[in-house]
C-alpha cells in the first residue's frame, strides 16, 4: 500500500510513462529513446509526445520497421555507455526481436560481468480493436529468462515510478505497458523524484479472507471486485499487485496467502504456463497445508483475441469473473 501524504495530482497512465521519460532524460543525457513512430509522431498512441522537441532527434529517434535491430540499438548502445529505452510498439512484435532480448541482452552480464542498462518498453493486451496479432500477453515467456527483469505496471503511479527505476537499473528490463490502461488515472505526488523499487509487490488493499494476486489490467478490476464483495458478501479481499513479475516478490505474496488461506490469480493472458500458473504453483508448493480452498486462476480463455472490441473485451476477464472466483474459493474447503 503506497502511503501518500504529500500533495498529489491525478495522472493518466500514459502521462506517467511520458513524465518518467522526460525526467530521466533530463537527469541523464545517456538516456535515449528509439522506436517506431516515437519521435515525430510522438508514439502511435501519443505516449511519447513532446520528447523529440525537448531532446532532439539523436536522443529521440524514429526507426525503420526493424525490430531485431531496434533491440540491438539498445544492447549495443548500453554496451558503449548509453542507457537506452527501446520501444517495441506491440508486445506481439517483440517476438521478432526475441533472440536479442533473451539470448543477447539478458545474458550480457553473465558473459561479461558488465552492466546492461537497457529498458524495452512495449504495449500489451486486448484493449483496442486490433485483433489476434496485436493484443497478446506474453509476459510469462520472459519470466523464465535468467538475467532479465520483467515489470508490468497496473496504474499511472506505478507506470511512472517503476519506469524511472527501470531506467536507472543496471539490468535489462522488459517494461510492459497495457493498451487498455493508457488513460487509467491515479493520484501521483507532485514535485517528487518518484522511484518505486523493482522486485517489490504492492498490497493495494488489505483483506483477510482471500488473496487476489492481479497483474496489469486486472488490478483495478480486482480492486473493484474487492469493494463489491465487501459490500455484497462481506468478504474481505486482499489485492496484491506484484508490479515486477521477475524477480517476483514471493515473500509478500506467500505471506498473504498463508494469512488468508485462499488464492485467486487474475490476468489477461491465457492460462497455460502463465504467471497465474506460477503463482498457484508457488502457493501449492509452499503453503499447501495452509490453503483452505483450491486456488483459482482467472484468465482469458484459450482462444485467439478477436478483432471486434466488444468481443475482445468479453474475452478478457472482468470484475465479475474475479468476484465469482473469490466466491468459489469461499465455498471450497
Amino acid at each position: 500500500m503506497t502511503d501518500i501524504s504529500v500533495e498529489t495530482r491525478p495522472l493518466k497512465f500514459w502521462q506517467g510513462v511520458n513524465q518518467a521519460l522526460v525526467e530521466e532524460m533530463e537527469r541523464d543525457e545517456n538516456v535515449v529513446l528509439v522506436g517506431e513512430d516515437v519521435a515525430r509522431p510522438g508514439g502511435p498512441y501519443g505516449v511519447t509526445r513532446g520528447l523529440l522537441d525537448k531532446f532532439g532527434d539523436l536522443r529521440v529517434r524514429d526507426t525503420p520497421i526493424s525490430e531485431a535491430v531496434l533491440v540491438g540499438l539498445g544492447i549495443g548502445g548500453a554496451g558503449v555507455g548509453l542507457r537506452p529505452v527501446v520501444e517495441v510498439m506491440f508486445f506481439d512484435f517483440a517476438m521478432i526481436a526475441m533472440d536479442q532480448i533473451v539470448n543477447q541482452a539478458a545474458k550480457f552480464r553473465y558473459f561479461s560481468g558488465a552492466d546492461m542498462p537497457l529498458v524495452i518498453r512495449t504495449m500489451c493486451g486486448a484493449g483496442g480493436p486490433n485483433g489476434a496479432q496485436h493484443s497478446q500477453n506474453f509476459e510469462a515467456w520472459y519470466c523464465g529468462v535468467p538475467g532479465l527483469k520483467v515489470v508490468m505496471p497496473s496504474n499511472a503511479l506505478d507506470a511512472k515510478g517503476l519506469l524511472k527505476s527501470s531506467i536507472r537499473d543496471n539490468d535489462p528490463v522488459l517494461f510492459i505497458e497495457t493498451l487498455g490502461l493508457l488513460t487509467q488515472r491515479r493520484d501521483v505526488p507532485v514535485g517528487e523524484d518518484l522511484l518505486i523499487p523493482l522486485g517489490v509487490a504492492d498490497i493495494r488493499r488489505e483483506g483477510s479472507d482471500v488473496t487476489v494476486v492481479a497483474i496489469g489490467r486486472l488490478v483495478d478490476r480486482a480492486l473493484e471486485a474487492a469493494e463489491r464483495l465487501q459490500e455484497e458478501d462481506g468478504i474481505s479481499v486482499e489485492v496484491i499487485d506484484p508490479r515486477t513479475l521477475s524477480p517476483l516478490d514471493t515473500e509478500t505474496i506467500l505471506e498473504s496467502v498463508r494469512r488468508t488461506g485462499r488464492l485467486v490469480t487474475a490476468q489477461e493472458a491465457t492460462a497455460p504456463c502463465s504467471v497465474g500458473s506460477e503463482l498457484v504453483a508457488l502457493a501449492a508448493e509452499s503453503c499447501l497445508s495452509e490453503l483452505k480452498a483450491a486456488p483459482i486462476r482467472v484468465a482469458s480463455p484459450f482462444v485467439n483475441v478477436p478483432t471486434p472490441l466488444p468481443l475482445a473485451e468479453e474475452r478478457a476477464p472482468g470484475v465479475e469473473d474475479v468476484m465469482s472466483a473469490v466466491r468459489e474459493t469461499m465455498q471450497g474447503s
Binding site: 517506431e36 513512430d37 515525430r40 509522431p41 502511435p44 524514429d62 525503420p64 520497421i65 526493424s66 525490430e67 531485431a68 506481439d92 512484435f93 521478432i96 480493436p129 486490433n130 485483433g131 489476434a132 496479432q133 496485436h134 480463455p301 484459450f302 482462444v303 485467439n304 478477436p306 478483432t307 471486434p308 472490441l309 466488444p310 468481443l311 468479453e314 474475452r315
Partner: protein
C-alpha cells in the same frame, strides 16, 4: 469459413484480363473501400481499417495476369489485393463489419483474411510477415513442378524488416517463381518513407541477381505489363523479379488517422494522379458508365448481405483453432 463457396464472385477470369476488366476491378475496390469508410464512420466497422484508395492499380495490375492456382501474400492494407485475387466482396465486407458470414466468421477483420482456395495466403497484421510465407508458397510450386507463381505484396516499410533480405536471398538462390511487389505509397504509418529507407528499393535485388524495376504504380497498364514479364519469367523457371510500384496513400494510415503530418498540397497533387482516371480513359465512356452502375449494384448487394449476417458472437471465438478430430 474460407472453405465455403464465395457468394459473389467478383474476380475476372485469370489470365485473360482486359483494360475493361482492370477498370472494373479498380472501380470495385475503390467503391468497396469508400463504402467501408462510410461504414466505419457510422460505427459499423469494429476493427482497424487501412484503406488502399489511390493504390488500386498496383493490386489490379499485380493480379490481373494470375491464375487462381497462383498465390499472393498481402498486408495490413490489403482489400484491393483480396478483391483482385478473387475474394468475394460480400464475404469480405461481412468480415470487416464483424459479421459471421465473413471469411474469418467476423473475428479477424481486415488484417486477417486468408482464402487459400483462391490462392490468397493472407493479409497480415505483422509487417513483413508475408515474405517468408510467399517464399514457402513459391518453393512448394517448385516442388510440385507446376508453373504456378507467387506474388508477394508489401509496403516500402516492410523493406526494413529482416524477412525481406532473407526472402530475397533464398528466392534468388533457388530461382523461385516469386515476384516481389513493393507497393511504395510514400508513408510508413505516421512518418514519410524517408525516415525508413536508404537508397533504392527497386535495386535491392541486384546484388542477388534479381532483376528489378520501378513502375508507375498509378498506371494499371504499366503495372500489368511489368507483371506480365515477371510472371512469364517465373513460370519459365527463371526465378524472381523485384518491382517497386510508386503510388500514394490517399488516406491516413488508418481511417481514423487524419494524417496531419503531411501537406495537403502533396495530397492534392497525388489525387490528381488518380489511377482510376487513366484506367477509365482506355475504355468507352458509356461502357465505363455501365460498369460503374453495375458496381454500385454489386456493392449494394454485398453490403446488404453483410448487414444481414449476424454479428460474430462470443461462442464463435472458440471455433477453428484446431482441426475437428
Amino acid at each position: 469459413m474460407g472453405n465455403q463457396q464465395p457468394l459473389v464472385q467478383a474476380a475476372p477470369e485469370a489470365g485473360s484480363s482486359t483494360p475493361l476488366d482492370r477498370y472494373r476491378m479498380m472501380r470495385l475496390s475503390r467503391r468497396f473501400e469508400e463504402t467501408m469508410e462510410e461504414q466505419f464512420h457510422e460505427g459499423q466497422v469494429p476493427g482497424p481499417l487501412h484503406l488502399s484508395i489511390g493504390q488500386e492499380a498496383v493490386a489490379v495490375g499485380g493480379c490481373c495476369h494470375l491464375r487462381q492456382s497462383d498465390a499472393i501474400l498481402s498486408t495490413h492494407r490489403g482489400h484491393h489485393h483480396c478483391l483482385a485475387k478473387g475474394a468475394a466482396a460480400d464475404r469480405l465486407m461481412a468480415e470487416l463489419l464483424g459479421r459471421s458470414a465473413g471469411y474469418s466468421l467476423g473475428r479477424g477483420g481486415s488484417m486477417h483474411i486468408a482464402i487459400p482456395e483462391i490462392g490468397l495466403l493472407g493479409t497480415n497484421g505483422i509487417v513483413g510477415a508475408g515474405l517468408p510465407i510467399a517464399t514457402g508458397a513459391a518453393y512448394a510450386m517448385q516442388v510440385q513442378k507446376s508453373d504456378n507463381v507467387t506474388v508477394c505484396f508489401f509496403g516500402e516499410g516492410a523493406t526494413g524488416t529482416g524477412a525481406f533480405g532473407e526472402a530475397l536471398n533464398i528466392a534468388a538462390l533457388w530461382r523461385l517463381p516469386l515476384i516481389f511487389v513493393c507497393e511504395n505509397n510514400q508513408y510508413v504509418e505516421l512518418t514519410p518513407q524517408s525516415v525508413h529507407i536508404a537508397g533504392d528499393i527497386w535495386r535491392r535485388g541486384e546484388s542477388f541477381g534479381i532483376p528489378g524495376s520501378r513502375v508507375d504504380g498509378n498506371d494499371v497498364e504499366a503495372m500489368a505489363e511489368a507483371m506480365e514479364t515477371a510472371i512469364a519469367r517465373a513460370r519459365a523457371g527463371d526465378g524472381p523479379t523485384m518491382i517497386e510500384a510508386l503510388t500514394y496513400r490517399w488516406s491516413g494510415h488508418f481511417v481514423a488517422d487524419r494524417a496531419a503530418y503531411r501537406d495537403e498540397a502533396e495530397v492534392q497533387e497525388a489525387r490528381a494522379l488518380d489511377p482510376l482516371i487513366s484506367a477509365r480513359a482506355l475504355i468507352d465512356d458509356d461502357v465505363a458508365d455501365a460498369v460503374d452502375s453495375e458496381i454500385e449494384e454489386e456493392i449494394a448487394v454485398a453490403l446488404a448481405f453483410a448487414q444481414q449476417s449476424p454479428l460474430a458472437d462470443f461462442d464463435s471465438l472458440s471455433i477453428g483453432h484446431y482441426a475437428a478430430s
